[in-house]
Symmetry: C2
């Protein structure tokens, strides 16, 4: 009778994690009665299944452990042709092959499940009456008639198959949050305009180019007779959207290791992070794009605009949601002395960041996108308020979560190639897709770079463009979007193709990064210190001498008025309100806001301000250009005190002894540099740029 | 048609976390067909439910956030009468009251679910045929006939109800692992014998005393006519088992804050950690105790012995499982240079520790118990091999997880008082239980302390015994065990009573800790430094002068032969094999094992050894007693080199200039001290005890 304990436990285990996430709606009162319950066939099955589940998860943990050990070996021996993600996929493939061909298809579940009929539509809960005893069942979903027979086939393979929403709701959020939180702000903000252009316009171009090309391919397949089921235009566009999400995790890891150019890094990283968000929202907008009659699936202007509206609504809503949670966290950490208790602080930070995801999902926005912007806001504001220990703790916590989630996804991808049961390999479609993504990427990078170069003082050079073209790997996001819905013929074909594209790009392009960098003559081993003290270099650029110094690539495009406006606003109002740094609000807000301003200003801000003002007073007079900067931006701000604060940032550089005259863009950029440094040493802003914070 | 995306997502979300844990068995092929699927009533319901779920979880996060902020406020103002766990319960209570009485019982789920009949027994999967379309349902469990009508009542309350297995499989493991991992080894090992006695014998006594007393209460209730349903003797014993799990988290937090006596801390902490494990296994053994006919429920010798066998089997199996994973992790971290990459190291550590839980569950043992011993092993061996950064990272990671899990459980307890729908408040039972746990605790602590004091050189004094009596709070483990099964009348009554006992003990005993400490004249503000350099004190104890020095409580009981044997084995073989410290194996293993020994010995061990041997050579001659010690233990070891290694430990003390003659027990104890210090400063063992590592 030991088994008595099992059935409930296992039926319950079926629902464990679900509860953490969603607070089960229908468990409490509905337990199996242990007492007097007869031994049912399900008991043994449930117990077996509970053990089987543990074994399966153990398999995955073993996989990850193996991956970690091999990664170590590779890092130890400085092997660069295969990144950890590529490695995780290979291990996944191996286990997939073993599961598929190595294990005989034994199934304890050896009959088609019983079925019963109802006239009314399916409800979420169903009661089953077995000779007076009632059993509760919950709805899993509709089942395809051909899949009913699959149920009995190879149970083991079905066992290792995840619910696709796991990727979206469990594995992606930490990856995306970590991306936002670990953004190298200086390079990112300097290239913000270009990044946004690539991410929004570029992804849209890529999506439509790929979508239309694939529609051509699909038409061709119809002519040749290779298409056995429906494949609509919207399906093609959907494919374009999911395959436009680039994921240069491999490339960036190598960039990091080789210390490749910081701006190229920022462009690639920023683009890939943002275009993930764009691709998610784009794909769901395309799903929402349903022209009046559900069967037409062709172009319809009103539906198109509705789709664009949905896109903008979801994107901006998610953005606001994420930013709002970040701001709330910043305020809480600023106005409490929580930093005396790092554990509490870390826990609060974690909970608040997680709540963004739930908040966005509760409001019908996209949790993953909200989490990205929450991460950026947290890094920009909250990070400044955290105690030194918490800054480390939060970074390390999300680093571990991100690492585990990423390697899990990639090893699962390897596994999926052999264990997913509805693959549709269509050579024409696959070949077409490879060509289409190549063309789509090219039409994204080259024309946009050309346009951006018209405006950028510092151009994105040819070799950078080639590298960006080359670095368009597809990874976790494309996979997660593709596996989310594999119900129809078209989606199954897309899923198979996406999987192959991910494999190919991660292995081939990922492995080819190092040779490609040297082939394109892109400088590596850029000393981060040197990269942060580019006084001579960028001065030369300004003098028009942009030969070798251009490798340093100080792009000035983003110092446009919009950016400047935002920057001043951020520096004068947001930073002082949300963090302990920046000039005191009492000096930036109009005088009639006095009481409010002094209430919101952190005592530390005065200290910083006083501390900095003293040694700067004479420097301000010398550095005429800096005061000019603040003449320029004082449209919205109190020029005098703003100038004082900025001179503080500038003074570090003046002390550097290399500059005397500089332009307003340079002043802004220096501010960005020093903002970065503030993270490392709060309390004083008279810091020399020392090292990039990762 | 935006809703099209929702139903699948939400039905899927229902299953998200489950998949992370158990690798879903039945999802892959069974998706709802989006295309052409008609709008069903379930879609809207599912979408609504998805949002509702997010809102519910947000409520919990808000609760935790509030708790964190209030904890901060309390810590900030040094409020000690209410601990964070007590606070979490109060917030939970408040939210419970609001949910129960504040929200009108609106339910979108406003009809009894449809039911259908089958003749065969229930299978885990059921297909529902609705006019040609098939839907898959999974079994949740049997449902009580009176609960069918509950389904329609107050849907909101059912929403916030968790699957009880969540507590066992998600929330308890990090708490228990953290307990094992953060064990203060020195005090723990010094009191190991007493701790094991209290944990095993004490819990068994407590369980049987409470069980029998409660059986008396139940008989009384039958006489008075207060009992409306069956309540067996095994139920009473089960209650005794679950309520015997003490959880002095509140008390220990205050001890930590006030720096109360280290040995009392170790006794309380060790007892509560170990008795959790004992209580789990004990309760499942009692469930397994089913005398031949299922209806007798009275004493049966064969069933009793079977039960004892089950207890021993599960306990030792879980112990071995946990220790084995710890050992494997130690070996992996020792023989790879993983410590160059703290991220990889931390991830590996996390995965290996998690796999213990799965491994134990897969083998039919108890995951939670395995995780405890895994934590202890990891702290004892693996911790020594980790890089400095990883030691911090792993501690902090598990600290955060433990903090979140614990506060979640306690706030859920508060919530459960009002939201759990099957409470059975029986005043007689509750009063009886309060008296029974008091008597049970007394019959555990006082007689065992008396017996232990017969053997202990340093007695457990009266005030310590009273404090242990007082510190018998009930907490997370009792709650988790009680909520695990609330199907029968007896179990529901037990659950209600357990909840009330937890509330009462946490608030009253937890809040009374500080007054109680001063009332019992237990020394607080024991300087950890002083506590670790108790040279004078323990010397006096040895000289028979135990007046004031006894507060320091150097208990020598554990230096018995069994402990000494284990200690020597651990120091000479296990430590050198599993970590970088300890004497080289080449000197402790017999010479014919030479090649194997040199293969297993870490190069660092030689360094440490050489470094230490040189200054010690003359000390060994002076410290005659130490060589005697190794004459004593050299039964299993090579005396000469073992002595050399130990002299190294002793030399630190000799350098301290306070000792010349000492007994073998003291030498061992000093080794324990220096083992502790090794954690902090590997590479040299010539350390003065500086601070306790938490």
């Amino acid at each position: 009778m030991d088994a008595l304990r099992r059935p409930k436990r296992s039926a319950a285990l079926d629902a464990i994690m679900m509860a953490v996430w969603i607070l089960l709606s229908s468990v409490s009162g509905l337990k199996a009665e242990d007492d007097g319950m007869e031994e049912l066939a399900t008991e043994k099955e449930a117990e077996e299944s509970h053990r089987q589940d543990s074994v399966n998860l153990l398999t995955f943990i073993l996989l990850l452990t193996l991956t970690i050990l091999t990664i170590w070996l590779f890092k130890h021996r400085r092997v660069r042709f295969l990144h950890e993600t590529g490695l995780a996929m290979i291990y996944g493939l191996l286990v997939g092959v073993i599961l598929r061909y190595g294990i005989p298809a034994t199934s304890y579940h050896n009959k088609t499940p019983p079925s019963c009929s109802l006239k009314e539509g399916p409800a979420s809960t169903l009661l089953l009456n077995v000779s007076g005893k009632f059993f509760e069942y919950t709805l899993k979903g509709e089942i395809n008639s051909r899949e009913i027979h699959n149920v009995e086939q190879n149970d083991m393979l079905r066992k290792v198959t995840f619910d696709p929403e796991v990727f979206f709701n469990i594995l992606l959020p930490p990856i995306i949050f970590h991306a936002g939180y670990s953004l190298k702000k200086r390079h990112f903000f300097r290239n913000l305009g270009s990044i946004i252009t690539y991410a929004f316009l570029g992804t849209a171009i890529s999506c439509f180019v790929i979508g239309n090309l694939m529609y051509g391919v699909v038409k061709l397949m119809q002519v040749v007779g290779q298409l056995t089921d429906k494949f609509y235009y919207t399906d093609c566009l959907f494919f374009g959207a999911i395959i436009s999400a680039t994921d240069p995790v491999t490339v960036l890891a190598i960039f990091n290791e080789l210390h490749a150019d910081g701006d190229l890094y920022a462009l690639l990283f920023g683009e890939s992070v943002m275009n993930d968000a764009v691709a998610i929202v784009l794909s769901s907008s395309i799903v929402a794009y349903q022209p009046s009659g559900t069967n037409t699936h062709m172009f319809d202007a009103s539906a198109f605009f509705k789709s664009v509206g949905v896109f903008l609504g979801i994107f901006s809503g998610s953005f606001l949601m994420g930013a709002a949670t970040g701001v709330v966290t910043a305020l809480v950490t600023k106005f409490t002395k929580l930093h005396c208790f790092p554990l509490l602080e870390t826990a609060l930070f974690f909970l608040m960041s997680w709540s963004t995801f739930l908040l966005a999902e509760a409001c019908g926005f996209t949790g993953v996108v909200a989490v990205l912007f929450c991460g950026i806001t947290q890094a920009h504001y909250t990070y400044n308020n955290l105690s030194e220990e918490s800054t480390k703790r939060t970074k390390q916590l999300f680093e571990v979560l991100h690492f585990l989630a990423e390697n899990f996804i990639f090893s699962y991808m390897g596994l999926a190639l052999f264990t997913f049961q509805n693959h549709i390999f269509s050579p024409i479609f696959i070949l077409g897709a490879f060509i289409a993504i190549f063309i789509g990427r090219a039409l994204n990078i080259y024309p946009l770079s050309f346009l951006l170069n018209l405006g950028r003082r510092h151009k994105i050079k040819g070799n950078f463009q080639h590298m960006m073209m080359f670095a368009g790997l597809r990874g976790a996001m494309a996979f997660a979007l593709a596996i989310r819905d594999t119900a129809t013929y078209a989606r199954q074909m897309m899923f198979t193709t996406t999987l192959l594209i991910v494999f190919f790009t991660v292995w081939v392009f990922g492995g080819g990064t190092t040779p490609m960098l040297s082939w394109l003559h892109i400088r590596v081993d850029v000393d981060p210190d040197q990269d942060q003290q580019p006084c001579g270099d960028s001065f030369q650029v300004l003098q028009g001498d942009g030969s070798q110094a251009e490798g340093q690539s100080k792009t000035k495009q983003e110092s446009a008025w919009l950016f400047r406006l935002w920057y001043t606003f951020d520096h004068n109002y947001l930073k002082p309100i949300l963090t302990h740094s920046g000039p005191p609000l009492t000096s930036t807000l109009p005088s009639y806001c006095g009481p409010l301003a002094s209430c919101l200003t952190s005592p530390r801000a005065y200290e910083n301000h006083e501390q900095l003002r003293d040694p700067d007073t004479d420097l301000i007079r010398n550095d005429a250009d800096l005061t000019f900067t603040f003449g320029d931006t004082s449209i919205t701000a109190n020029g005098a005190s703003g100038g004082g604060a900025d001179a503080a940032g500038g003074s570090g550089w003046s002390a550097n002894g290399k500059r005397s005259g500089s332009t307003s863009e340079e002043a802004l950029e220096r501010e960005l540099d020093s903002r970065e440094q503030e993270l490392l040493s709060r309390g004083t802003r008279l810091v020399f740029p020392i090292e990039d914070h990762v």
